[in-house]
Symmetry: C3
Subunit: 463 residues, 3 copies
């Protein structure tokens, strides 16, 4: 018996004023379609067919080899969309088929699995997934008959009494695949919109004397979709809050969650504190006892334990234990900060390894460099890694002391314990423990500013 | 027939602990009085008299020539305030007069126009603008008589039953101007406060056998005012949310609106995303498909399409298409970034034009400069535009390559394709394709740090 | 008569996944235990015994000499915890004893004092402090008898009817000290958990024919505690909002409070505006008419009047009147900015005094320096205060003009009105009004980049 999924992803978000298919709109940086597919996969359903329509190419590129697709060329309703998957359905028609909306991102694997169990147990031809809402306005209402379902009534067709029903249609259904195929062939366009409605399958099944049921999901968010950007913001808020609460349950501390956005794949250790305005994206992993924020962005970063990051942005960087960085720091891809590194303000590090306990206190750029441990960077140091044609590396040995406003012209190597004098441009290798100085004589011109300054700045200052 | 407006703006926000007139307190950077005047103007009412009182001069300066003003020297009530405009009213007494509170910023043009239509249709002497509130506590309640109004009862004078009335007085009224003049002359100070109350005009009109009506506004926010800073924060929140929703309807995307404040005059194109902590002020205009934020401030800026701005502040700047800037960038007035410019971290640009595809990657100041296209700025470059007396300009030709920590002493001109060596101070013009070098010889002092360093940093390191 | 306090602080926050005692978890940067002690002290109660348990050492270190402590070695319930203080109680048994939970931070001095008055007036043996909650779920319910109390029923033992009671136990009690000692000796472990419950004292007192009362606090927040990190976040939100409202009542202006966190000891003058994302910590004091934020962190800072701070972080700094700083500035401990100083972008100041009207516009580090008034710092200036061994000071006289990318090698002194040329490294003192220049000759190499550049950058540019 093969259980499989058809996901409807052909819709256009007209009211979003956006030229992309609605299921491709993102909730917490993942397209809604991605949320739906992930829920299926978590429920053990890997045979999935996505019905595309508006800007099908964009959906196909996003899916890659992850799912099959079929194209619905004309937008003739949800029933018509499922019809496009007829070939897919017929390949394995001895099991059940789940039909899902590609733009209802909070359908979860537990609901999918429990609804299937119920569907099989009840021997239903079709099982509608439903939920009870405090405010059902706008949704199709479920009319019950015994323990089964009598009908789904759309908001606009509902009587006053029917509108009070709080159980609503999620738009997700389990069908016996054979029954689905037969029901699809019975759908008609004889309605005001001239469309084939998947909801009509319930009535058709009952007419045939088959059993039709409704599985009430415990999680009412399964029905949530988005017609407007306001709805989409709401989905993001629901997802955001859910992720934050999951981290709180894991022992992560928040004083104020304003502006905190954490992606689904982020891991954070216990007793770490996240301060406001912090955005964690991609496969970021943070250890224990850290303080991250305020106003950090970490994307695909690995952060150790006891790390303090204050107002920094880091992308594809590795930060080991007990590092302190910030405020106002930019760690670009390929940065690796080893244990106990200290980075102060207005520092950029890129494609470089920085050794243990090295300090880069202020206004410095370290790029394409291999830096030893216990190095001290003076303020204004620049690793001159680009000569206009190619990028070269700097190698800086353990215990080096780089003077302020030093230029290190790559490729260049500073031996262990080497010094550079402030303001020097270092164009050749410096041996261990040597000092490199590039400097002209200092000349003083007496009384240079006497006339121009005195009257302007010190009007009362007589000679 | 002349329809005109009297706006009451004499009040002092005692409970705000602020030495400015209450209507001058701002909601989203615009004084509440400005909101009220704009609503009148949108409703086609341009003949406006503002009644000033507390710190009248401040209101007069703000208004400039936009409205007439009259001074209420003593604070003797709302009726007394309108009396001060008697001269203004008598100039054109054949139409209707709208009386508005200068500190109720959400009165809107639609309510003003519809209330006037109702007022004329009903041939009312006076029409009170009202709204239904879920929680009417603190507001004057509207007692109805048939389709008209019987009385306005203040909270403190209301019976238990009257307090349950949810229709409240907004403090805005349409009067037949002639009726208003007659009613004002009938007001008395015979009450506990010894003040002339404008609300008493309703009772007076009814005594005279005139018709008095109430127009119920659809937008309940028209009644909102502020007595405390908490109220004022609430007004800001209402205004903020309204602006955000308006942009969402236009196709602008928000993942989380925390800390996002967008002024009334800001325009944003569809499919642009605004990230948290972003403040957009003044006449800022943003194109399509941009990503702005987090934590940007843009004030009076014009931003093209496909622009990415991350944690930058920009004031009176023009940014063309496909520019990327940030994080930690400051664009000061007179900045013009052309198509495809890239600005990295810790960069300031001021009063300069930067040509297409030029890159300013890090720790650089470009001021008072004209920069060509495809220029590459090394890290730490400074355009030395100020000699302590005057500011001069730098001119940097197409395709120049500026070495790191270069000083360009303005006025100076770099020809097309010119190079400067890292660490050079460039005091004279550099011809096309030439290299400018200012550098002393590099000297190495062997074993300079051997003794002082070795014991400290490498205790286990024997020679 | 001696009134005294026993605070229970032995609990472990298991569900917080944190290895510290629950009362040591912070709300707005102060451990909950600190909030409780402060409330006692404000109520004039200085004789306090804290019962420790889990990680007692951590509590003892935090308390120092502030309170006595006793250790509860086994966790055998709240009654058992109070028993550990028997010695403390017996020292002065002629008065009353307040028992408080160390993890209910919003117990306030007014409730404590009023409950004591009530307790004495009613001649109660024990008085439970209670509060009415809209949602009492999870709390012990108060069953009344006449004006007194009949019992406290835990949620899990309550009948349907009892669960509807909205008056709940705060966990705080006033006892006559003698009665408490007698009641404690009567407690037993005969319950499911095998623990001694302090709540059982109420029943015991009634059995003895003593009077037991309940004092209903006006502030329902007195009952709030935290079992989960979600609860703890809620406590932080309550505390945050309360502090913000207190400042609003004092005339401080907020446009949007997102991400604003203000500590309990912070003082802010009237007509100052705090923008989003601003965190004020420690003993920070801000004057009137300032604009602070967005995204500032100020910790233990003293800020004058009419100061504008935009996206800066300052720690242990003093900022006088009319200073403007930001965006992107870091003021480290020992910074003192005098009247009218202007600090621009990407500037760090540390352990330095900066004189009146001095300007540090961009990309500069001023450390360990004494700077006069009306000094102008060029972009990229570095005070080279560290030679790898010791830190030295720079002294910069009034009206100096420091050229861009200048290094001032400390110790060094620039006399009044001294100039330094851009790019110079200044290694010795500069007399008044003198100019210091360290610079090599500028050489131009013609046609240096002609070949390598032209084909790459200007493919269509024929010679």
């Amino acid at each position: 018996m093969m259980n499989q999924v058809v996901i409807l992803a052909g819709g256009h978000g007209n009211r979003m004023k956006v030229a992309i298919p609605k299921p491709m709109l993102s909730v917490l940086d993942v397209p809604m379609l991605g949320w739906v597919i992930r829920a299926c996969e978590s429920a053990g359903l890997s045979r999935i067919c996505v019905v595309t329509g508006y800007k099908a190419k964009m959906v196909e590129i996003y899916l890659g080899n992850r799912c099959r697709t079929v194209l619905q060329e004309e937008q003739l309703g949800t029933g018509h969309a499922v019809m496009q998957a007829e070939g897919f359905l017929k390949e394995f028609d001895d099991g059940n088929t789940l039909v899902l909306c590609g733009d209802a991102p909070f359908m979860d694997s537990e609901t999918i699995s429990n609804a299937l169990k119920f569907h099989i147990q009840q021997e239903n031809a079709v099982t509608v997934v439903t939920a009870d809402l405090d405010n059902p306005t706008g949704y199709g209402r479920i009319l019950r008959r015994g323990s089964g379902i009598a009908a789904i009534v759309e908001e606009k067709d509902a009587t006053e009494a029917q509108r009070k029903v709080r159980e609503v249609n999620s738009g997700a259904y389990w069908f016996q695949t054979k029954a689905l195929l037969e029901l699809l062939s019975g759908l008609s366009q004889s309605n005001a919109q001239g469309e084939y409605y998947l909801t009509d399958t319930v009535g058709l099944a009952l007419e045939k004397g088959w059993t039709a049921g409704a599985y009430r999901a415990e999680n009412p968010d399964v029905v949530l979709g988005a017609n407007t950007r306001k709805d989409l913001l709401h989905l993001n808020e629901v997802a955001r809050r859910r992720v934050l609460e999951w981290h709180m349950d894991n022992g992560v501390s928040f004083v104020c969650t304003d502006g905190v956005i954490i992606g689904n794949k982020v891991e954070i250790g216990a007793e770490t504190t996240i301060l406001p305005g912090t955005i964690l994206r991609g496969k970021t992993k943070i250890g224990n006892h850290c303080t991250i924020g305020p106003n950090c962005i970490l994307e695909n970063c690995t952060i150790g334990d006891h790390v303090t990051l204050n107002s920094i942005q880091a992308y594809d960087a590795v930060v080991e234990d007990a590092v302190k960085a910030g405020p106002f720091v930019h760690l670009r891809p390929g940065t690796h900060l080893k244990n106990g590194v200290k980075i102060g303000d207005f520092v950029e590090v890129k494609n470089s390894t920085v050794g243990e306990q090295t300090a880069i206190a202020h206004l410095t750029y370290v790029g394409d460099s291999d830096v030893g441990k216990k190095v001290n960077f003076g303020c204004g140091t620049v690793t001159v890694n680009y000569d206009g044609m190619v990028k070269n590396r700097c190698e800086i040995g353990d215990g080096c002391f780089i003077g302020c406003n030093t230029n290190l012209i790559a490729p260049v190597k500073l031996g262990k314990g080497a010094y550079t004098a402030a303001g020097s441009t270092v164009t050749k290798d410096v041996p261990e423990y040597a000092l490199a100085v590039e400097r002209a004589d200092l000349k003083l011109k007496e009384d240079y500013s006497k006339k121009k300054l005195r009257n302007r700045l010190f009007p009362g200052d007589d000679e």
